[in-house]
Amino acid sequence: MPQLNVNGQTREVDVPDDMPLLWVLRDELGMTGSKFGCGMALCGACTMHLDGAPVRSCVTPVSAAAGRAISTIEGMASDRVGQVVQDAWIENNVAQCGYCQAGQIMTAVGLLKTTPAPTEEQIDGAMGGNICRCGTYPRIRAAILQAADRLAQGDE
């Protein structure tokens, strides 16, 4: 019976070891912010962080997450980088349908934590796994660059 640490809280779940983390959080814990898009790590809608690094939770067995720090979109408002990225998403009116945006934000936060001043190519590289069918890519790019600027100013 895995014990999970989600956004700083300990949660008990009674699920098989091979159940993907995404379904554990969505169906068992009721945390629906992370989205199901493909089930094969192809679209990024389910992106969460494990010990700070983005993972595709739709193919991450829950057993691989036990004992590690899981962060989700629901926890980003209390994350310094997450908050700045969320604000940039709003200021740039990024969302259309919005379904993929939790995953986009989680990947972007992961990028900015390791690469605070990403180049265009680095944005392409990091974000290439996150699909937006509405086509909000130009605004996502603008929001990431704006968030990077804000974070740099905050660090000065």
Partner: protein
């Protein structure tokens, strides 16, 4: 001539919470009497189920604390309609947006008017009804204040959430006036004083963000996929891999042995034409989605593939191409195209053939619906474009009256036409019926289900033939289109495109060519064919717009100038003068084909892209344009093609004239998104069939544009903004010109002509 809507009894009620609402009681105190002249043709919103409703009592309520609640009656799938229509009401009623809350209507077209968000109709059909509802509410508030002060209503004015007595400076807030306002008669249409454009606060001003923007960013927005209820169970369905296939036998023993699996339910195959019926198959119900998926994998099923088991898209491509070379059914015929063609010298004849494969919508949220049946009633929570169709489907399935089915409309994680068909809601109802009374069932489609069982965009072969003389003058034009029809969804064996399909960029082309003929070929459908964002405009505009570029090249002329010359001077064309046609249901007087507006967007897109500038080797600019859903669009794409034939899109300039720009920021968002979706279908997306089965299954083999392939520059150019014009559509029109502009750009860059999509690499 037009339909009049009379609201015979107007009522309001005081809620038990003490907040006074402008609302109609649920018991049907309002009856809508339609005094339609049976002989008159209905256009636009009047031709749609439910028509329009502009009653402020239906759409607006005001609480004692001044909070204004506005009903969004149309579903949000990413266009911004859940924000933009309430914004129109708020503007007209002088409500401050920060004191407005938006609530989503359930399915009820009798109450709200048409709710089906397809066809780019929301603003087109509901701008004026929403303005009237807002203005009526404002005038009721003003009348209440005037009565309170015993002054003439001409002395008072509603300004930013309060009514002011202009000479005395007395003010009353909307909350203070709500009770009295609700007792005022609703002004008739002729008494309404709509705002002058100069007085708009929100319309056209980009002052309002999406109502769900913050919730989306925090992961708090609720999509159909996010529905949760106590005791809810989860279902996935194994469907026949071939459309029209049936279960021969199945064994559920191993599936039932999977931990968490609760039940296996047979879904009956559809009868007759597919319409919105489920495909059939076997549902696995479990305690969570994962267990249901595992249980489905353990099912042992034998299928009878049925008549479409031999469908092979590579073979069918040849069938379509052959059909496009044979005489078809003539649907537009001006002059004598055939004689001109037959009499022309070989050097003056030019023909080209184009192909677009099936496409899947692949909205990021796959289809999903939750249904609970209890005490003779059903309640549904889902993401659907057409809530009333979902209600009808569930009511029919469960043999309930529509009023005993409540459809709650949650956010859609994309739709693009797929979610206007409620087959998945029907499936959920079938499974819920098989479960113990009251068990909520969430039926989830996986991505594989979505790709395998979509209502696909049609596959199409287009042949164009022109006679172009030595001076570059086009003397004849023939466009023959061979594509399975959406009509096959509703009539078994239907062949050949219907008028509404042909009228999307095949019939309705405005070029000054003396001999024009448009034909459709009779070809059968072997898959479920559905509406895909901009529908038949995609293949028709792809072919015609590439063909014009090819003709310009043959004539040795600049494409832009050649196109403008072909279109000719600014004029308004009655679409009916081209052929017996379909004008997106709209009146030809209200929405003529305006070549001046078409010229305007071509010029704006070219100006934005600096058309004609010097480009590095391997780079090219391509142009295309389209009139669809009563809006005019033009696109210039800039590409770079390397030695290996890899195409990189550097920039897109898109211009649109949709008449009045109600929420320009969201219009631009739709244009950007349309550019990306258009590039997806142009560059990489393709659904193919073998043995009746879709070969693709997920985003690795059904490829859509990703960040790294998306152009870094998408410039949007909004043209015209004439508020005296009726509004045009916004969601779909950006898509059709993108693929031909791309292929024209590839030709400019490489001299190689791509006539078949997806482009992939340029050989």
């Amino acid at each position: 001539m037009s339909t009049t809507v009379q609201l015979s009894r107007r009522r309001f009620l005081q809620s038990s919470l003490g907040a006074l609402t402008l609302a109609v009681t649920a018991g049907g105190l309002v009856t809508i009497v339609r005094a339609a002249d049976a002989d008159s043709k209905k256009y636009g919103a009047d031709s749609m189920p439910g028509g329009t409703v502009d009653d402020p009592l239906v759409f607006v309520s005001i609480a004692a604390d001044g909070t204004v609640t506005i009903v969004a009656h149309r579903a949000e799938m990413g266009t911004g309609v859940r924000t933009s229509l309430p914004m129109v009401v708020a503007d007209e009623m002088e409500a401050s947006w920060d004191r407005v809350q938006v609530v989503q209507a359930e399915a009820n077209e009798a109450r709200y008017g048409n709710q089906n968000v397809d066809g780019s109709r929301s603003m087109r059909h509901f701008l004026m009804p929403m303005r009237r509802a807002g203005a009526a509410a404002r005038q009721m508030l003003e009348a209440a204040a005037a009565a309170r002060w015993s002054v003439s209503v001409s002395e008072v004015k509603a300004v930013r959430h309060e009514v002011v007595h202009q000479s005395s400076g007395r003010r009353l807030g909307y909350g203070e006036l709500a009770a009295d306002a609700a007792r005022q008669p609703v002004p008739g249409t002729e008494q309404l004083k709509l705002k002058a454009r100069a007085d708009y606060r929100y319309i056209g001003k980009n002052q309002v963000r999406l109502v769900d923007l913050e919730a989306i960013g925090k992961g708090q927005a609720t999509y159909g996929m996010d529905m949760r209820l106590p005791g809810m169970v989860y279902a996935v369905v194994a469907r026949p891999p071939v459309v029209g296939g049936k279960l021969r036998r199945f064994d559920s023993e191993k599936a039932l042995a999977v931990p968490g699996v609760l039940k296996v339910v047979e879904i009956p195959a559809f009868q007759g034409a597919p319409a919105f019926q489920p495909l059939g198959g076997v549902a696995v119900v479990a305690r969570n989605t994962w267990a249901a998926i595992k249980g489905r994998e353990a099912l042992e099923i034998e299928w009878d593939d049925g008549p479409n088991g031999g469908y092979d898209s590579a073979d069918f491509r040849k069938t379509l191409a052959e059909a496009s070379r044979a005489t078809g059914k003539t649907i537009r015929d001006n002059g004598d195209t055939l004689s001109v063609w037959n009499g022309a010298a070989e050097t003056e004849r030019f023909a080209a053939e184009y192909y677009i494969p099936h496409l899947a919508h692949a909205s990021m949220e796959p289809p999903v619906a939750t249904v609970q049946i209890k005490e003779g009633r059903a309640e549904v929570w889902t993401s659907v474009q057409n809530p009333e169709a979902a209600r009808t489907a569930v009511a029919t399935r469960l043999k309930l009256k529509p009023e005993d089915v409540k459809v709650n409309v949650l956010l859609l994680g994309g739709g693009f036409g797929r979610k206007s068909k409620p087959d998945y809601v029907d499936e959920a109802a079938i499974v819920a019926r098989a479960m113990p009374e009251g068990t909520p069932v969430k039926l989830v489609w996986t991505r594989e289900d979505d790709i395998h069982h979509d209502y696909l965009h049609t596959v199409s072969a287009e042949r164009l033939e022109a006679v172009i003389d030595k001076t570059g003058k086009v003397r004849s034009w023939l466009h023959r289109s061979a594509a399975p029809t959406i009509g096959s969804l509703f009539a078994e064996g239907a062949k050949g495109q219907q008028l509404f399909e042909s009228a999307m960029s095949a019939i309705n082309m405005p070029y000054q060519i003396p001999n024009v003929r448009v034909e459709t070929a009779e070809v059968a459908a072997h898959a479920r064919i559905g509406w895909f964002r901009s529908v038949a405009n995609i293949p028709h505009a792809f072919a015609a717009q590439c063909f014009i570029a090819e003709l310009a090249h043959r004539a040795g002329k600049d494409h832009r100038q050649f196109a403008l010359d072909l279109i000719g001077p600014a004029r308004q064309i009655d679409p009916g003068d081209m052929a017996d046609t379909w004008n997106y249901t709209e009146s030809p007087e209200r929405y003529p084909y305006d070549t001046g507006r078409l010229r305007g967007v071509i010029e704006a897109a070219c100006q934005g892209a600096k058309w004609g500038r010097e480009l590095p080797k391997g780079h090219g600019l391509g142009l295309a344009f389209c009139y669809s859903f009563m809006s005019y669009t033009a696109t210039v794409v800039e590409v770079a093609v390397d030695e290996k034939g890899q195409v990189r899109v550097l920039a897109v300039d898109m211009a649109m004239d949709c008449g009045p720009q109600i929420n320009p920021e969201r219009i631009r968002a739709q244009m950007e998104g349309g550019a990306v979706m258009g590039l997806s279908l142009a560059l990489t997306s393709e659904i193919t069939f073998e043995k009746g089965r879709v070969k693709q299954s997920n985003f690795h083999d059904y490829q859509v544009l990703r960040h790294n392939a998306s152009p870094r520059v998408i410039r949007t150019h909004l043209v015209n903004d004439d508020h005296d014009l009726p509004p045009g559509g916004v969601g779909e029109p950006p898509v059709p010109p993108v693929a031909p502009a791309l292929c024209n750009a590839i030709f400019a860059a490489t001299g190689k002509r791509v006539r078949s999509l997806p482009v992939g690499t340029v050989a």
